[in-house]
């Protein structure tokens, strides 16, 4: 179990990066939804 802290740090860092990126996608999507005016036709 030597150096287990490094292993956990690497796994945690991986998911922190992925979750942060997913957060930016969700944030951009919510901002876009707010920008779309009621009654505005968007999409196919």
């Amino acid at each position: 179990m030597k150096n287990i802290g490094y292993l956990l740090a690497a796994y945690a860092a991986t998911w922190i990066i992925h979750i942060a990126y997913l957060g930016t996608i969700v944030g951009r999507y919510s901002r876009l939804r707010r920008e779309i005016k009621p009654g505005q036709v968007v999409g196919r």
Binding site: M1, N3, I4, Y6, A10, Y11, I17, R28, L32
Partner: protein, 230 residues
Amino acid sequence: MKRAFPILGILTAILLIYALYQALVAAPTDQAQGDVYRIIYYHVPSAWTAFVLLFVNFGASVFYLIKRKPVADIVALVSAEVGVVFLTVNLVTGPIWARPVWGIWWTWDMRLTSTLVLWLIYVSYLFLRRFSSSGQTPLLAAALSVLGALCVPFVYFSIWFFRTQHPQPVIGGGGSIDPRMLHVLLINWLAFLCFAFLVCWSRYNLEVLQREVDHSQALESLMAPRGGAR
């Protein structure tokens, strides 16, 4: 297609949890490094996934340069963005693994330096896409992407051609790995590929929606009656 997304999402989550179990529990412990070697199950699949995405970016950019189809431009943008995220994971987990094994966080050897340069090229690609308002941006970005893609095989094969501190590749080359470890590595890669596909799908839909909103707002402002003091 909309129904497929949550189903694929659940399947990918199950696969990621299974891959994590395999990486942390089922895979045998390395005799030399102990448990810290298990970083390989996130470090290497992240790099491979990034290379696949940058290859997709290259293909879409070439297609855009030839056909000028907006869909190719969107695929290029999305694959580069998600590819940079996976490359970032690779660059962050590498030093965390290097510290206990090599005794240093970073060394300017060919593999590490070329990976950092590759990351900087694609970050500059994303900056170009984000901050340039020129109508030529997709064209310039596609040209930059084609040049950036030339760096990918250089990064991969750098450990073959140069004497580096980085270990040899686990598939091909002079490296070798226990078949049970290779099995877990491939499971993790498959899980990462599925996850990357879903993220790309979400980001693609977002980009399509963004362009539709921009387009309808531009049309609206053109149709709006002009008036008011200048």
